[in-house]
Symmetry: C2
Subunit: 260 residues, 2 copies
């Protein structure tokens, strides 16, 4: 299997989903081998990534919720769905999963359901991106066990920076079970140049993280328009600066993995 990257930050609204879907849309444009396939896994019960990437309505049995039932699925292959992009596939989420969430702590191997799934299908994909919810819950835990690296979108704002220590504590705990989980880096996100306090926090982040700052994405109206059009910037505005910034980030992520 290629790369399995969890887009994560327990702080809400830092741009995890927007990053996940736009990275997923840019990646094929970088590769020479156009046969390669990518997978986006939506682990958030609010299913925002699913909404932006797929126009289909999915029955609950065809979504990620099926991996978390009482009985471990024999095969999860049927949970992989095509999208309008030829090389991009999705394991969708569903708000119906909210009803299940409370019972999952009672179920066997509840932390490994996503890992088991990727053991089965992961080799068919070049890059697997996992969109995480704003939490440190069972779905995020599954993502951390299944991933080989985490990528953290970080707006240069006080409350977003606050949560980083807590996140790193969680990663450290997970490494007892998944010692290969790497911290790929941060993406300075939703950045507005002329806001002084943001520039100050940006400098602080660049100081703190050094070469672990893998990219910078400006706050852009284009990205909000793309969401309102229920699509990615790759479709909506491939000539925009926003697209270029995601593309450059994707290139950097790929080089970190020695891909491409």
């Amino acid at each position: 299997m290629g790369a399995v990257i969890a887009l994560t930050n327990q702080k809400g609204g830092v741009g995890k989903t927007t990053l996940a879907v736009n990275q997923a849309a840019c990646l094929p444009d970088l590769r020479k081998n156009t046969d390669r396939r990518d997978l986006l896994i939506d682990t958030d019960i609010q299913a925002n990534a699913t909404f932006l990437i797929s126009k289909e309505t999915f029955g609950y049995r065809d979504t990620i919720g099926a991996l978390f039932q009482e009985t471990i699925l024999e095969s999860g292959r049927h949970l992989v769905h095509g999208t309008e992009r030829e090389n991009l596939f999705i394991v969708p989420s569903s708000p119906l999963m909210a009803a299940e969430e409370q019972r999952i702590p009672f179920r066997e191997r509840r932390g490994e359901r996503l890992s088991l799934f990727l053991k089965e299908v992961g080799d068919e994909f070049d890059i697997v991106l996992i969109d995480c919810p704003p939490a440190l819950n069972i779905f995020v835990l599954n993502s951390f066990f299944a991933a080989d690296s985490i990528l953290v979108p970080m707006p240069p704002e006080e409350l977003a920076v606050q949560g980083f220590e807590q996140l790193m504590g969680q990663i450290a705990a997970v490494r007892a079970v998944n010692p290969d989980l790497a911290f790929l880096g941060v993406v300075i996100n939703m950045f507005t140049e002329r806001i002084l306090v943001q520039s100050e926090i940006r400098s602080f982040l660049e100081e703190q993280f050094g070469d672990r700052v893998l990219g910078l994405i400006h706050r852009s109206i284009i990205l909000q328009e793309a969401s309102a059009s229920r699509t990615t910037v790759a479709d909506y505005a491939p000539n925009s600066r926003a697209y270029e910034e995601y593309r450059r980030l994707a290139q950097r992520v790929a080089s970190e993995y020695g891909l491409m």
Copy 2:
């Protein structure tokens, strides 16, 4: 007891915490009776509201986590702490609560822990504001059972609007147990006038919600600076438009309750 208002929206980063702490800071300025006291309850394990309102470090036993232990507390009074504002008190949260969260589904009356607490201390306060996490988890459920109304910050953005139906479904479910839970309204939040797609969504929200739009808060650098200074706009910039918008909202909320 006066008003118990849950600030909620399962979408991340829509401004729940910023709204909660700034409302809490404005409310005393509206009242003639300066003996009245308000309480802010932080139900988010990320404890952002606690961070912004209080400079103290709290032992876990003195935070909201104490309400969710195996044994129901005889009295929760010691969980109410003063803040630098004379009339404002806080029940703080703590990231340590994350370790507990998985075990709470096993505990008796787990949905009522906050209600029981407010039965004991609620009458001492004029207004109780509850800051909720970006989820529909046990802490949000407790908030819905304990509250008499919910107030929903809503940026005029596609993904934020998407979640509203799911939220209303949850409220409907809760009303089977707490029939008095009212939908107070929405606050159009983080609004930037010149962004066309936001103006369009704003018009849509005003159409949909009519007189349930209780206020509008513009996106403001001042609010980010206040957070970076670990304080509220009432302290940081009481002459700003941002402060005026929170004040006007607080007035509207108060009039909805027939207070003041």
